[in-house]
Amino acid sequence: MTKIASRQGHAADQRRDTVDFLAQYAAPMFLLLLILVFSLLHQNFLHPLNVMNVLRQVSISGLIAIGMTFVILTRGIDLSVGSQVALCGLAAAYVAKGGLESRFAVGVEQAGNPVILAVLAALAVGMAAGAVQGIAITRLKVPPFVVTLGGLTAFRGMALLLSGGGPVSGFTPDYTWWGQGRIMMVPVPVIIFVVVAIIAHIVLRYTRFGLHVYAVGGNEAAADLNGINARRVTFLVYVIVGFLSGFAAFVLSARLNSAEAVAGLGLELDIIAAVVIGGTSLFGGVGGIGGTVAGVLLIGVLRNGLVLLNVSSFVQQIIIGVILVMAVAFDQYAARRRG
């Protein structure tokens, strides 16, 4: 009797372990499969130039996806990151060019302030946007979905108001280097993405703050009872995603040599898709940076491979949508199994 019971228990354990394993490694495995398939179907897929191209494309949204991972781990969401990118990009551009009037000097290379000030402006605006939303979520108790939906509209509106609708372009070479430059063949945005991913991974896995992010996402009430300041943790994750949106906005404006109010339109959905496909649970408390990097690469590789194979971009959207829903369906299934 006992033996049967324990054997059944063991089988249940194994099934649970399999589900957990898949939840954790589905994205990297699917990524490897895609790379294999595309490299067989197209000779240039693995060409170093194409590889660098994919990496450079994913690194900007990847930066924000890293911040989004923190937010989703606490069971939150940030829908405003695309609008934050527009606002922060403009902030960097105006500071670099030395003032608001520069919007009328389209295309003229004109040095106003040092690049470092432009970076700081983008970061400060991003962090401020995150802080405002964080306060609304933790103090006014408005659900993150609603707060950041408001942010999505409001920050875009501010960007449009600030820019008067037109782009700001023509930066100095030491500005555009951050988006277009290379260090030993590797594009600068890729290096930034890798460095930030490593730091974020260390913070999440090996620091007290990282543990508290997981604890708040797992059981906020329990975290509070054990002396963790859940409000502070929640507030900080929105500041972190704001910081990274600001950084990404600066790099994007450097790469395009232009900042405009419509930058990053719809970006939030791609980013949330990448994080969720990477195995971070929308229910909070489960996931990590490794999965997010895999999720970001997966979407980037899929887009690139389909372009190489001349598949229409409309079809790409359908495929990414289907994969997203499948990933969330699996997340639901895994959450029930964990239950």
Partner: protein, 246 residues
């Protein structure tokens, strides 16, 4: 000298009087069973001692020092450990991390401070062995049985040398075999000289591990006597009101 002394503790929520003039005294190493029907005021009393909210009136003296807590962390710092009814565990974390949640062990590397998982796993393993529990430090709490989860919550109280351990309905939602394990753990706490307040609905549990029983009814203490001088029948009568007071 009493380790915990409550005098005239009352709590109002608006017009509702949850507790009315409670006096309670606990000696070191004593186990008190706190009993009462739903709404009798047990949880309110526990929350006052645990620091969830302060009393409307009355004094709390802990180990000779008058205390007034605004947050649970303050009570914890003064040596009052609580095991919550729902255990306050994070399912997504390992047993060891749950034990150390909010009190993590830290290792410094240069200016950086990192979690010392090795030390936390080792210390948690020691505590589980002490508690004679099979719980493994690295296992995720979501994979654990009710008894193992209890052990994790109890292990938290062993990180420090607490003056008082409050247990809120620890046996409410677990199987018979696991109840026995929890009662063993309470006996273990007593043998190590800890004062325990056990809040329970279950008369058999209180009679098997406690030294004294106090009964609350409608916010008042209606009885407080040694277990030896009482009986399960009397306590049941006191809880329901069939017996007025003892």
């Amino acid at each position: 000298m009493a380790i915990l002394e409550l005098s005239g503790v009352s709590k109002h929520f608006g017009a509702i009087e949850a507790l009315n003039g409670i006096d309670l005294s606990l000696e070191r190493g004593e186990a008190l069973g706190l009993m009462g029907d739903n709404g009798a005021g047990k949880s309110t009393l526990v929350k006052i001692i645990a620091g969830t909210f302060p009393p409307s009136m009355g004094r709390i003296v802990l180990d000779g020092e008058e205390v007034r807590f605004a947050r649970p962390v303050e009570a914890r710092q003064k040596g009052i450990e609580i095991i919550y009814q729902d255990l306050a565990l994070c399912d997504n974390l390992s047993a060891a991390l749950n034990v150390f949640l909010g009190r993590e062990l830290i290792r410094k590397i240069g200016p950086c401070r990192f979690l010392d998982r090795t030390a936390m796993n080792a210390r948690a393993a020691e505590i589980f062995a002490e508690l004679k529990s099979e719980t493994r430090p690295r296992d995720l709490v979501k994979h654990m049985s009710g008894g193992q989860r209890q052990a994790v919550a109890i292990a938290r109280t062993r990180l420090v040398d607490p003056k008082i351990v409050l247990m809120d309905e620890p046996t409410a939602a677990i199987s018979v075999r696991q109840v026995a394990e929890v009662l063993d753990l309470i006996r273990h706490l007593k043998t190590t000289g800890h004062t325990v307040i056990l809040i329970s609905h279950r008369t058999p549990d209180v009679f098997s591990v406690c030294d004294r029983v106090a009964v609350l009814r409608r916010g008042r203490k209606v009885a407080d006597k040694p277990i030896a001088d009482s009986s399960p029948e009397e306590v049941t009568g006191l809880i329901t009101g069939a017996i007025e007071g003892a």
